[in-house]
């Protein structure tokens, strides 16, 4: 039994945490978000130099060879700083799919540039109707000569505007909702027939709707075996879900600390509002919410590392708690700040909006609870 981080993990954590402390105060972060692509290219270079972009990749392609704990350590600190750079979109989703589904050639051709910070990527999987079902894919890839022609619409593609290369989930066979028949394709974002429309989500990130109108790609664009992409997609999405939960934990910790501090200083009726027992108990509740989430995160990451049978059940449980307790922590943070909590100027609302976004990524609490129930009681 050991809940300590390794020396390397401590160094990684300190590295991210120091960057956030020194270079990512809230005002700077807002400038970054307001910029054209919603992140800073120079920060991205720094991330590459500090080695963070290499964390999840194998040593054979120049990666750090990290495991889920390493990613967790990075993401928790990024959550505390509300880091807007597309670590999830480019490194975890795009890079993760290449690592998991790609051939040795594809990995060697693409991942070194991701690690060096020279590639921005995105994973185009979601469609207007698909909600949280990864197999709900109607975009089609028809065989054409040696290659394929892609036709369909994707929505809410994270980092979709900045990406030079997209990984697109499309059907080479089967019907909407079928697990079989989904394939992944590497598509140049500037290719003919690709149209992108960018818009923002409440956490500030720039996403894209992307139309594929008869986009032709060669046979080498296929990532993994034709029609068999779903297991790799699911595995990467599971990794990302865990990472997002770690980010959420960092956010919850920050929100709780900010709120307790505010309650100690804000005076009404001649006393600090933190002296009211009604508020004290609620801050105790949010403290417990944070601790419970942390425990479930550790439980999940341990089971994933051990490849234990209950790993996916744990992951569903974790996402349920992140939804439930994330909401509680966010609600209380705003409520206890009173009118201040409603202002855009204060960081609290921004942390809450990121937490709410995380809640809906790859399945909300209700979705994961249903999956948990299926796995447990059926």
């Amino acid at each position: 039994m050991n809940f300590d981080f390794s020396e390397e993990q401590n160094m990684l954590r300190d590295s991210v945490s120091r960057f956030v402390m020194d270079n990512y105060d809230f005002a700077t972060r807002n400038e970054v978000v307001a910029s054209e692509l919603g992140y800073s290219a120079s920060n991205w270079n720094t991330f590459a130099e500090l080695g963070w972009l290499s964390v999840p990749f194998s040593e054979s392609v120049g990666g750090f060879g990290g495991n889920a704990v390493d990613t967790m350590v990075v993401m928790e600190q990024m959550g505390k700083g509300l880091v807007a750079e597309p670590f999830v979109g480019t490194v975890l989703l795009f890079g993760g799919l290449i690592e998991k589904a790609g051939s040795a050639d594809q990995r060697e051709a693409l991942l070194p540039d991701v690690i060096a910070g020279e590639t921005q990527g995105a994973f185009a999987y979601l469609e207007r109707q698909s909600r949280y079902d990864l197999a709900d894919v109607t975009t089609r890839a028809e065989s054409a000569g040696d290659g394929y022609t892609l036709t369909g619409s994707k929505a809410l593609v994270f980092n979709g505007m900045a990406a030079q290369t997209l990984i697109v989930a499309a059907r080479t066979s089967g019907e909407q909702y079928d697990s079989d028949g989904i394939s992944l394709f590497l598509v140049d974002a500037a290719a003919g027939g690709v149209t992108r429309t960018g818009y923002r989500l409440m956490d500030g990130q720039l996403v894209a709707n992307i139309e594929f109108d008869g986009v032709t790609v060669g046979a080498d664009a296929l990532l993994g075996a034709a029609g068999e992409a779903l297991p790799a997609m699911q595995a990467v999405v599971d990794d990302v879900t865990l990472a997002l939960c770690a980010e959420a934990l960092g956010i919850m910790e920050t929100l709780n600390a900010t709120t307790v501090e505010y309650a100690k200083t804000r005076q009404q009726f001649g006393v600090a509002i933190g002296s009211f027992q009604a508020l004290q108990h609620r801050m105790v509740d949010t403290f417990m919410a944070y601790e419970q989430t942390k425990s479930m995160l550790y439980r999940t990451v341990c089971s994933l590392e051990a490849e234990a049978d209950d790993a996916s059940r744990n992951l569903h449980a974790l996402k349920v708690l992140v939804a439930r307790y994330g909401k509680q922590v966010g609600d209380e943070a705003i409520q206890i700040h009173g009118g201040m909590g409603l202002t855009d100027e204060l960081d609290v609302g921004h942390y809450v909006k990121r937490l709410m976004t995380i809640n809906t990524l790859f399945g909300d609490g209700a979705f994961h609870q249903a999956r948990f129930n299926e796995l447990t009681y059926n």
Partner: protein
């Protein structure tokens, strides 16, 4: 014990329904949703209600009110909500108007009530200050007598729609001695008076409705004081209870919940409608059942009111439960929208994501966090109930 509508009530209901159908047009709705045309359109809409004689639903007839029975008021607000139409802006018609006709002198009534009724004057509420929120009575904006004028100095904050306002009704300190509640006066201040500065505050929904209002040597005629000097707290307190009663928003919650249920018929994953998911049904009915009870709580409070009582601590109950339900409905709509519930609208309120309601759901949810904070926070309402009803502490 009887809540059946009479034949006359049913006729009235049909008339109100027809009125909204004829007048609350799609064009009007679009102009209300657009921030650039909101103010003018809201005023036009209220003028339409005024012409019909339906703008001041709670006022006595002698001052231009409808003189409706409780049942008629209930029917009217239910029909308004079902039509999706907004309520009137509360600051004039629901807040300061009743204070003026209850506590103002004849000259004040003649001077201010017509502009409130025909919506020529847009009012805002200047109560809260940076240091005086829940502890409102500790407010510090001071008004010092100089001849027949007060000289006002200080700052108000969270003033909704001050940027549109022609007038602000303010609580100001006129006396520092004795209990803090006893040195407060109620002033009506022309927003065009020299020395007033309005600074915008953007909220977490990305919009500008809140403001800070600064007062630097602002001269206000004594004739603009309601009632007696140092007695303003009494007048304000009467108003606060009214405000809480109207914040409950039962009719709007019914309409909004029905809308979420409709959305849940078409949204869903893996080809299944959300509304057919038993877990989702439980979430909906948890809210709906509480709302059914609250509808009758509201009717009970209104009935007690019309038999002569002033809204007392029951208004706190309505406020707490009403706002909890509003937030639960907003949350459910976000849940139905899924990840699209995070979409930000563009400057004019439009949405280019192609999703039909995600960005609206987000905006309502984010701004909706305020309902448990304004009008006296829900914590403060619980303190009121525990003291005034339960006799604790």
């Amino acid at each position: 014990m009887d809540t059946q509508f009479s034949a006359e009530d049913l006729v009235f209901q049909a008339e109100v329904r027809q009125f909204y159908k004829d007048n609350y047009t799609a064009e009007l709705q679009a102009k209300l949703a657009n921030l650039d045309t909101y103010k003018q359109t809201q005023i036009e809409w209220q003028k339409l209600l005024f012409d019909k004689g339906w703008v001041a639903t709670g006022w006595p007839q002698e001052y231009g009110g409808t003189g409706w029975t409780d049942t008629q008021k209930f029917i009217f607000s239910t029909e308004r909500s079902s039509a999706g139409a907004p309520d009137v802006v509360p600051f004039g018609l629901k807040m300061v108007g009743p204070v003026i006709y209850a506590f103002g002198n004849d000259e004040q009534k003649q001077r201010f009530l017509p502009g409130i009724l025909n919506s020529d004057d847009w009012w805002c509420q200047g109560y809260s200050e940076p240091g005086a929120g829940s502890d409102l009575a500790s407010l510090k904006t001071k008004a010092e007598l100089d001849g027949d004028e007060y000289v006002v100095n200080g700052a108000k904050i969270w003033t909704s729609y001050a940027q549109y306002a022609d007038w602000i009704f303010c609580l100001v300190r006129t006396n520092n001695e004795g209990k803090k509640q006893q040195g407060i006066s109620f002033l009506l201040i022309d927003m065009n008076t020299p020395g007033i500065k309005v600074n915008p505050i953007v909220t977490i929904d990305g919009h500008h409705s809140l403001n800070e209002v600064e007062f630097n040597d602002v001269r206000v005629p004594v004739a603009n004081r309601i009632g007696e000097q140092d007695k303003g707290w009494t007048y304000a307190k009467a108003l606060l209870a009214h405000e809480r009663t109207s914040i409950a928003g039962v009719a709007d919650s019914k309409k909004n919940l029905a809308q979420v249920i409709e959305l849940a018929r078409t949204e869903g994953g893996s080809g299944r409608s959300l509304i057919n998911d038993p877990a989702f049904q439980k979430q909906v009915s948890d809210i709906e059942i509480d709302l059914m009870a609250l509808e009758f709580t509201e009717l009970r409070v209104l009935a007690a009111l019309s038999s002569g009582g002033a809204p007392g601590p029951e208004s706190s109950l309505l406020k707490i439960k009403g706002t909890e339900i509003q937030q639960a409905v907003q949350e459910l709509r976000m849940q139905v929208a899924g990840t699209f519930g995070g979409v930000l609208s563009d400057e004019s309120g439009g949405d280019i994501s192609g999703h039909e309601f995600g960005s609206d759901a987000r905006r309502a949810y984010m701004y909706g966090r305020a309902t448990t904070i304004y009008g006296g926070s829900n914590e403060v309402q619980k303190n009121i109930i525990s003291k005034a009803v339960l006799g604790l502490g």
